[in-house]
Structure formats: structure tokens, C-alpha cells
């Protein structure tokens, strides 16, 4: 009984601490020692403003890993604890972070706080902002590090163009197929049709200056609309219907970018902080665009990892 309570009190004080471990050793030697240690632990917790009999209390924090992005301070009972900064991780283990909570309890405030410090420290950041809440960063970040605010209507990109010339277009086409599969729920038959026809279109277009030419989304859609099947291939017709539906949806939603065949926009955006205003976009087009941009950036940085702010 006493042992369990000592264990609980030690956890609240921080059982990894050397002084707490020493006292636990002392407690293990005799019953009197255990009682003494128990009262020491309880006294320490009380001094820190924590109820020693409160089973729901969170442990005291003595020190936290350092970091450049300060978020706030730890709370030890009723007193303030050490500074809490976002853990930096290492090159081998980059820490991703999740911020969870109900609306209006400070999630966006915290993220604005982080993003502002990050950009001012010279870090690059892409923010996918469905509620248009991050515009304040334009004023809060200084000089050339200022983020650019773009809406989908500003995009001038070709989804089929690989991030760099170093990535073979066939490899990139596989990524696009995966995006169509996972973000627009296209089935295998439609994807095979898409893959096969896109290869044929790009090969047919040939090379200009040693570079393959990519069809725009609208041109690809037109190609698929004109595709004819023999009377017996009934299933192919159904696959084509689904494909036309998804490509038509993307063409309608991203109308301004649907005729672009070649663009330098994304490599430029990869060298600066951007806030993507996604208000008004929802469902599959939103899902597709966000995943497309993340995949594009990941592939781009695979080839050119050290993009610095332009």
C-alpha cells in the first residue's frame, strides 16, 4: 500500500530525477524510511502547489529539451515551470507535431505563434489554411521572409509535369495515378486506362529541346472524351465514365490552371513561405490539391533537398 503510494507520489514529482530516486532507495530500506520519504514527497508536492492526494494531477516538470520555437511555459501545480519550446528533433528523426482540441481554445493561436517564429527565423513554411486565418502572418513576418497568400485560382500548374527534370515523367505519372486512386477514389480499371492513355499522349507529343511535352488537364480530358471503345468492351466504358467524372471535376474546380502545359510556379513557391487559402474548396478537389502539393514538395526536395529562401 505504502509502496504504491510512494510510487504514485514519485511519478508526480518526476521519477526520473536523481534526488527522487535516492529517496526511493532510502524508502526501500525500512518502513520508517518509507514513511519519512512519503512525508517528504507530500511536502514537496504541496510546496509546488499540487495536491498530493490528487490522482489526476500531472507530474512536475523540472527541465524540458531546448528549442528555438518557444510556445509557452510548463505549469507545475500553481507555479510556472520551465520554458516549453517545440522539440527540434534531429536530422535523423524529425519530430512531427499534432495539435488537438476543441474550437476556440487556442489551436490556431498556437500555430500562428509557431509559424510566425519559424518564418522570422528564416524557416520555410507552407500553410494549408481552410479558414483564411493565417493572413495576419503577412504583417507579422518581416521583409523578404513574408509569406505569399495564394488561392487555388492563382495556381498556374500542370499536374502532369514532374517537379524537376531529374524525375522521369513515367515515375511522376505513377505518383499521379496513386493520387487519383487515394484522393479521388478511382478504381483499378480507370487508373489503368488513365496510365495507358497518358503514356501514349505524352509519347505522341514527343520531345521539344530534349524535354517531354505534357498535355494540359483540359487537353487530356478532351482526349478521354473522344476515346471510343468497341461494342464488346462494356466495362471499359464504365471505367472511362469514372475517369471523365474525376478529370471533369478537377478541370471545373481548377479552371485557371486546367490549360497550363508547362509552368515554373511550384519550384518558385518551394523557395518561399506560402499560405494556401483553401476557403470555398471542399471534398475531393481539396483533398486532391493538398495531397498533390505535399507529394510534389516531397519529390522536389528528394532531388533538391537544400532549397533556401529566395
Amino acid at each position: 500500500m505504502l509502496e504504491t503510494e510512494l510510487d504514485r507520489l514519485a511519478k508526480q514529482l518526476g521519477s526520473h530525477r536523481a534526488d527522487v530516486r535516492r529517496l526511493l532507495d532510502l524508502a526501500a530500506r525500512s518502513a520508517d524510511g518509507a514513511r519519512l520519504v512519503k512525508s517528504i514527497f507530500r511536502g514537496r508536492l504541496r510546496r509546488a502547489g499540487m495536491g498530493p492526494d490528487d490522482p489526476g494531477a500531472f507530474p512536475l516538470v523540472q527541465e524540458l529539451p531546448p528549442g528555438r520555437l518557444r510556445i509557452g511555459r510548463a505549469i507545475n501545480g500553481s507555479a510556472e515551470g520551465p520554458v516549453f519550446a517545440l522539440p527540434e528533433g534531429s536530422k535523423a528523426n524529425i519530430c512531427h507535431t499534432a495539435v488537438v482540441g476543441e474550437t476556440r481554445y487556442g489551436k490556431t493561436h498556437l500555430l500562428l505563434h509557431l509559424a510566425c517564429q519559424y518564418m522570422n527565423a528564416g524557416g520555410l513554411c507552407w500553410i494549408f489554411d481552410p479558414e483564411a486565418e493565417y493572413d495576419v502572418l503577412v504583417e507579422a513576418v518581416s521583409g523578404p521572409l513574408k509569406p505569399l497568400v495564394l488561392a487555388p485560382r492563382h495556381l498556374r500548374i500542370n499536374f502532369f509535369q514532374p517537379p524537376t527534370d531529374a524525375i522521369p515523367w513515367k515515375t511522376w505519372l505513377e505518383d499521379i495515378c496513386l493520387l487519383f486512386r487515394q484522393e479521388t477514389y478511382l478504381r483499378d480499371g480507370s487508373l489503368n486506362l488513365f496510365d495507358m492513355e497518358m503514356r501514349s499522349i505524352i509519347e505522341h507529343k514527343g520531345l521539344v529541346g530534349g524535354r517531354p511535352q505534357f498535355p494540359s488537364l483540359a487537353a487530356a480530358l478532351e482526349h478521354f472524351r473522344n476515346l471510343k471503345f468497341g461494342g464488346r468492351k462494356v466495362r471499359s466504358g464504365a471505367w472511362l465514365e469514372s475517369l471523365l467524372n474525376r478529370m471533369g471535376m478537377l478541370c471545373n474546380v481548377f479552371e485557371e490552371t486546367s490549360r497550363v502545359t508547362h509552368s515554373e510556379m511550384l519550384p518558385r513557391l518551394a523557395r518561399r513561405s506560402v499560405i494556401f487559402h483553401l476557403r470555398g474548396l471542399r471534398g475531393l478537389p481539396l483533398q486532391f490539391l493538398v495531397h498533390y502539393l505535399v507529394t510534389w514538395l516531397a519529390r522536389y526536395r528528394e532531388v533538391l533537398p537544400s532549397c533556401s529562401p529566395s
Binding site: 505549469i75 481554445y105 487556442g106 498556437l110 500562428l112 507552407w126 498556374r156
Partner: protein, 371 residues
């Protein structure tokens, strides 16, 4: 060098259905697992800690702010390894307070986020100007001309008229719609059948009272409307909710011309609550009006919390039908019993829409009693 930061606000909006095994794993899951090698760092924000395993497994830091929904609490407790007593503290976290857990130091601890003030955001015109200046500096090529085959119009005549009406006014009953369109019921039914066959319109699952149905555009219908630049009205909580709230306000408004209603009221905002409407009485009393159409458990939780808010004298909850009212009443009773330690609750009036929207309903009786 700092890694490239990607912030995904409201993660659930972008997440593909991770439960669907037929489409493989969502792209983000695979990207997150290998992002470190490419110098990418993700920050996700969401209302629930229900990320797919690949994301949960690669989180180096979890920051949990206030949670009160029992399901959310359970997920957070299980995912962060909290004791039940610690999980019970999550609804008590205040504004800017959070519970933090590191990947390599699993003991969670409490933090208070610094308070910062940001300058006001720039005007939309300034942002647009910057975006256009950037566009002007980018090179891109466009397809010279793309031939578009003419598309057949799949609906015409009465069906098109009905479609347009539903796009802008799905918060009305069939007879109101018939009056507005100058159609009789048979014409309306025929037109609705055409929309139904095309998959453009459907009835809402919930009815008002026993049998009053509401119709709205399906996702396919909305997509078709947008393609043709037809304006589609969006309702925050659905057309039935909007209709019912309007009717309730109208009915209460007949009691006294001095009554005023306020939507998006700041009352209870600091408690994370958003009442459907707040009625201001001439004596300075405030009455919260809640309308329940589809999620009685969630509404009951909010109603119970609203009853405890200072400055609120009465809560009137109207359920769309009798069945919902019974469920709502049981849920409110349950939440009230759970929260018996809270401040003395304000009076609650629970009504069924079928009963209270009747012309003979005695609204005066509710407001005659001292609040």
C-alpha cells in the same frame, strides 16, 4: 538548417478515408513516414486525436488542448496513455492551456501557451495585389486551344426551375416552394422525380414533425450547379435546422414586438459554446434557443452546458420531432445527473416542433413566468 514546415490546419478536411482498404494508404500517411529524409516537418491540427497509425507513430510531440466530448476524451486517453483521472482533467483546460507529450518522454505535462497579439490582417486587395505581382513574375505556357464538345443539358423546364429553387432555398416546405414557383403539387412531384432520377436532389433523412419532408441538392447536384455558375446556398447546420430556427424565432416573436434575436451571439463563447440564437427580453434577461434536428446527444451536451452559463436565464430547446425530443430529453437528464456538482442549472423548456409551431401553442405562458 530548419526543416521545411508544412502546417495542415483542420486535418480532417484533407484526410482521405484511411479506413478504406481498397484504395491503399492515404498519400499523407506515406509522405509523413518518410518526410524526415526530405527535411519536411508536419504540424497537424485537428479536433480529434484520431490520426492514422503512420502519423501517430511518427509524432514527436502531441499537444492536446481542451477536449470535452466523451469520444474525443477516450481517444486521447488511449492514445496518450493517460490515467482516467488525468483524462478527466482535459475538459478543465482553459484557453491557451494544453497537455503536452513528447514521443521520447511519454509522461504528459501541462503548459500555458504565451499570449501574443498579431497586427490586423492586410486587406484582401493587398493580398490579391501581392499574388498578382507574383503571378506576373512566373512563366507558364498554356494549351493554344482546347476544343470542348457541347454538353447536353440533362434537365429542362419545371425540373430546372425546381433545381434552381432548391439550390437557393432548400429551407422551405414543399407547399412554400410550390407557391414560390407557381406550380401545383403534381407538377412539383413530377419535376422532383426527374431530379431524383438524375441523382441531383434527395429528401433529408430527418422530417419535421411526423411527415414534413425537406429536399436538398445532393453532392452531384451541387457539383452540377457549380459547373454552371448556379449559386448554391450553404446552411451551417442544414436546411431543416435553418427552417426550424426561423419558424421558432417567428413564433416567439409574436409574443412581444420588443423581443430581439441574435445569431452568432458571443454569450458562452468563452465556454466554447455557440447557441443557435439568443433572445433578448426587454427586462434584460437572455434566453438561449437551441434547435435539434439530427444529433441529440451533442445538442444535449451543449444545452446542459448552456444552462450553467452566467447571464443566461432560460434555455428553450426545440426538437424537430417527437422521437428526437424523447432522445434529447433522456440525454439532457443523463448529462445533468453527471454534472450535478455544477452551479444551479437554469430552467429548461424542451419542446417538440410539431407542438410548438402550432398556431394555438401558448408561447405567452412560457414568458409570463418570472425568469
Amino acid at each position: 538548417m530548419l526543416p521545411f514546415l508544412i502546417i495542415l490546419e483542420e486535418y480532417h478536411l484533407f484526410s482521405a478515408d484511411a479506413a478504406r482498404t481498397d484504395i491503399g494508404r492515404p498519400t499523407l500517411c506515406t509522405q509523413v513516414a518518410t518526410a524526415g529524409k526530405r527535411g519536411l516537418r508536419f504540424i497537424f491540427s485537428n479536433q480529434l486525436l484520431n490520426f492514422p497509425e503512420e502519423i501517430l507513430g511518427n509524432l514527436g510531440c502531441r499537444i492536446v488542448m481542451r477536449l470535452s466530448n466523451p469520444k474525443c476524451l477516450w481517444v486521447a486517453q488511449r492514445s496518450m496513455g493517460l490515467t482516467p483521472e488525468q483524462a478527466a482533467r482535459l475538459p478543465e483546460l482553459g484557453f491557451r492551456e494544453a497537455l503536452v507529450q513528447y514521443g521520447d518522454h511519454p509522461t504528459p505535462f501541462k503548459v500555458r501557451v504565451d499570449e501574443l497579439s498579431f497586427p490586423p490582417p492586410p486587406a484582401e486587395a493587398t493580398l490579391e495585389e501581392a499574388a498578382q505581382a507574383f503571378l506576373a513574375s512566373v512563366r507558364w505556357a498554356e494549351e493554344a486551344a482546347v476544343h470542348e464538345p457541347p454538353e447536353d443539358l440533362p434537365i429542362t423546364g419545371d425540373a430546372l426551375k425546381l433545381f434552381m429553387r432548391l439550390a437557393e432555398h432548400s429551407d422551405e416546405t414543399t407547399s412554400e416552394r410550390c407557391d414560390a414557383l407557381g406550380m401545383d403539387r403534381a407538377q412539383e412531384v413530377r419535376a422532383r422525380k426527374v431530379l431524383d432520377a438524375k441523382g441531383f436532389a434527395a429528401a433529408l433523412e430527418q422530417t419535421l414533425g411526423k411527415q414534413t419532408k425537406f429536399y436538398h441538392l445532393t453532392d452531384k447536384g451541387v457539383a452540377w450547379a457549380r459547373q454552371r455558375n448556379i449559386k448554391v446556398k450553404e446552411y451551417k447546420s442544414g436546411p431543416l435546422h435553418e427552417y426550424l430556427l426561423n419558424q421558432v424565432e417567428k413564433a416567439i416573436g409574436t409574443v412581444s414586438p420588443k423581443f430581439s434575436f441574435q445569431r452568432n451571439s458571443p454569450i458562452a463563447r468563452e465556454h466554447g459554446l455557440e447557441p443557435d440564437s439568443v433572445l433578448h427580453l426587454p427586462g434584460g434577461q437572455r434566453v438561449i434557443i437551441e434547435v435539434c434536428c439530427s444529433n441529440p446527444d451533442y445538442d444535449a451536451m451543449n444545452i446542459t452546458r448552456e444552462m450553467g452559463v452566467d447571464g443566461v436565464d432560460l434555455v428553450i430547446a426545440v426538437a424537430a420531432n417527437r422521437r428526437l425530443m424523447r432522445i434529447l430529453k433522456a440525454a439532457v437528464d443523463r448529462y445533468c445527473n453527471e454534472d450535478s456538482a455544477a452551479a444551479a442549472p437554469k430552467p429548461l423548456v424542451l419542446l417538440d416542433a410539431g407542438e410548438c409551431l402550432n398556431k394555438d401553442f401558448d408561447w405567452h405562458g412560457i414568458f409570463e413566468r418570472p425568469l
